[in-house]
């Protein structure tokens, strides 16, 4: 099993004729994702370089293809709008890859999506992958290991892209498969967060353990820790990036900032440990920590 996406998920790409959109559509198709079309306003009626139909609007794309998920590469200025358009067109899962979206745009978009019951992943994220079935995003597919009969499987939730690849790689190297890996993104205002995904992995029979990768900024990890204590019985292995980050500086991600003494790695690690969660001191020992818990 998996969460949120599987081999039946039908995906469109908003921004399919752009450089990044075209490249990653090709990569996803190669991985086996059912990408059924794309949207670029003004280019409706044409074919993409992959031979997929291009539509002017999401409404047309959904009507013609029956898509239920979207992967958005629209530039930052119009990306929040694109997410709302997808929701209005009946898409149920919006994966927003774009980096650099103004925060107040996301405040508005998130409310709009919530009101329509649409799930959002991102923005500023690598996307989501159910290994062997469906990849919606920019992560390198080959590092992932699909579950097989009798395999030990983890679900991964992460605020960081490359750090997720690191965790996936370390797990795959040790023979640990992944049910689904979700990059929730590095922005302060985003879609699905640790708590919602922890619940989904808790309910997924095939997921044996959950890896959560957090970083400095905000209090999502502290809230997740409290939630795990109450509601999650599967083992959780965590890592928090930014133990050496100085306060008041934005560490690459818009959301990765310690402000007013809040959002430190130390506070997050303490909250997680207090909830009985295994926290890896080093990013290099995540895989080992997971293997240790599942042995």
């Amino acid at each position: 099993m998996s969460i949120l996406i599987d081999k039946s998920t039908r995906v469109i790409c908003q921004g399919i004729t752009g450089k990044a959109g075209a490249f990653h559509t090709a990569q996803c198709l190669e991985y086996g994702t059912k990408i059924v079309g794309g949207c670029t306003p003004g280019k409706g009626g044409t074919k993409s370089e992959h031979g997929l139909p291009v539509f002017d609007t999401c409404h047309e794309a959904v009507a013609a293809t029956g898509a239920n998920a979207t992967m958005i590469f629209v530039p930052a200025g119009g990306a929040a709008e694109a997410a709302m358009e997808a929701a209005d067109a009946g898409i149920r899962l919006v994966v927003l890859i774009t980096e650099g979206i103004p925060t107040l745009d996301m405040v508005r978009a998130r409310k709009y999506l919530d009101d329509t019951g649409v799930r959002l992943i991102g923005p500023n994220c690598p996307g989501i992958i159910t290994p062997g079935q469906c990849k919606i995003g920019i992560m390198p597919g080959y590092i992932h290991k699909p579950p097989t009969r009798g395999s030990k499987n983890v679900g991964i939730i992460s605020r960081s892209g490359t750090l997720t690849y690191e965790a996936v790689w370390q797990c795959s190297e040790r023979g640990l498969a992944q049910t689904t890996c979700v990059g929730i993104g590095g922005d302060p205002v985003k879609g699905l967060n640790f708590i919602e995904l922890l619940d989904l992995f808790q309910a997924d029979a095939e997921t044996h353990a959950i890896v959560m990768i957090g970083e400095i900024g905000g209090s999502d990890e502290e809230q997740a820790a409290a939630h795990i204590k109450q509601h999650v019985t599967k083992p959780v292995i965590a890592f928090i990036a930014g133990q050496t980050a100085p306060p008041g500086k934005r560490m690459g991600h818009a959301g990765a900032i310690i402000s007013g003494g809040e959002g430190t790695a130390q506070s997050k690690i303490a909250a997680l440990r207090a909830a009985g969660i295994t926290v890896s001191d080093s990013p290099a020992t995540l895989g080992e920590a997971v293997a240790g818990v599942l042995r």
Binding site: T162, L163, Y165, E166, E215, G242, M251, A256
Partner: protein, 386 residues
């Protein structure tokens, strides 16, 4: 992006929020005239720098004559301000704000930020003005009253009125304060702020409600649609290496240690710093080259790292996903030729095109390069190389 206090005052004025008159000078000779124009006996002279701790450093000064204004202005322009927030080198003062001292009866605090947990902006107000909000939050959290915005409608006037009453303003004064709060909330949304703060908002002895000091931060991602705000940027407040990096789409932050870091991805870059520390070293910088890095961008990254005289060794940590290992290997070889490595460089590559990259590096035979097999090995090797 941060702006100076004098710029923040202008923003408040443009939004119709009452602010006392003020003068801005950029050399001490302008101080006496500015003092006279203000027409108040007691005037406050404030250095315009982004760093906090101005009062303690002696860069906020009350004066009572034109001569005194000039001598204090001269002193502030002459030597950099050193405070807890600036580091020992301090920051040079380029502008000074002068304003009449206000006879304050009560001080309040008002600000707007985005509440990340609720995913909406929040207006915060407190009867404890003039002190840092973090201090109030730690000592007396109940003193901070909050009103959350509707994501689409923004703050409503009734919310502002309720908040003004909640911080203990009399009916007559609450109306004026609520008007200021509402206007501040509008300004926050219209200009894509990440922080809009008035501290203190005062009730004067004469019964006026005035904004005395203000601080604004803006969402960097929204600056492109606010050219008026982007124009307020003061590059002299920024670290030159960080500015140079930004021009090349690199995310770089200078730190105090001696191990330079070149990494792809913000999370991996942060944890590379962490693992260096874990193995007894100290990172000289945060550097995320990003996913769409070009060989030119990566060479520039080496240039910036190696220009830091503190750097005694470099750790390159790449997990090739979208960024490809061979691009980084190519950049390493070019940087060795063009920039020259005067310190050991430990390289850990994994992911997309790693075999090609390893072969390229092996054939290039750059003497300072040392390869590492994994992240722990890399951290140990770079600390040992010091």
């Amino acid at each position: 992006m941060k702006v100076h206090e004098y710029q923040a005052r202008e923003l408040l004025r443009s939004a119709g929020i009452p602010v006392p008159p003020s003068e801005v000078i950029d050399n001490p000779n302008q101080a006496p005239q500015a003092y006279l124009r203000l027409g108040s006996e007691t005037v406050v002279v404030k250095a315009q720098v982004h760093a906090g701790g101005r009062g303690k450093a002696g860069y906020v000064q009350l004066v009572t004559s034109a001569d005194e204004a000039k001598s204090h202005a001269a002193r502030m322009f002459a030597s950099p301000m050193v405070s807890k927030q600036t580091g020992p080198q301090g920051v040079q003062v380029h502008k000074i704000l002068m304003a009449p001292a206000v006879d304050i009866a009560r001080e309040f605090y008002v600000s707007v930020v985005v509440d990340r947990a609720r995913r909406v902006p929040v207006l915060m107000a407190s009867s404890e003005g003039g002190v840092e909000i973090e201090e109030v939050a730690a000592r007396n959290p109940d003193a901070i009253k909050k009103a959350w915005f509707h994501p689409h409608l923004g703050l409503s006037t009734f919310q502002a009125r309720a908040l003004a009453a909640a911080i203990g303003l009399s009916r007559a004064k609450a109306k004026a304060a609520a008007d200021i709060m509402y206007k501040l909330a509008r300004l926050f949304q219209e200009k894509d702020c990440s922080l809009a703060e008035i501290n203190p908002l005062v009730e004067t002895a004469a019964g006026e409600i005035l904004a005395i000091d203000a601080k604004f931060n803006f969402d960097d991602n929204a600056l492109c649609r606010h050219p008026d705000i982007a124009a307020l940027f003061d590059p002299s407040e920024e670290n030159p290496a960080e500015l140079q990096a930004k021009e090349h789409n690199l995310s770089y932050i200078a730190l105090d240690g001696n191990i330079g870091c070149l990494v792809n991805g913000a999370g991996l870059a942060m944890s590379t710093m962490d693992i260096i520390k874990l193995h007894g070293g100290s990172p000289a910088n945060f550097l995320d080259v990003g996913g769409s890095v070009t060989p030119e961008g990566a060479v520039e990254a080496f240039r910036i790292i190696l220009a830091d005289p503190k750097v005694k060794a470099v750790l390159v940590n790449i997990f090739g996903g979208i960024a490809k290992c061979d691009v980084i290997a190519d950049a390493l070889i070019k940087a060795a030729k063009e920039v020259g490595f005067n310190v050991p460089v430990v390289v850990r590559l994994e992911g997309t095109n790693v075999d090609v990259a390893r072969k390229m590096l092996a054939e290039a035979k750059v003497p300072q390069l040392r390869s590492a097999t994994d992240l722990t090995d890399a951290a140990k090797k770079v600390v040992a190389a010091l």
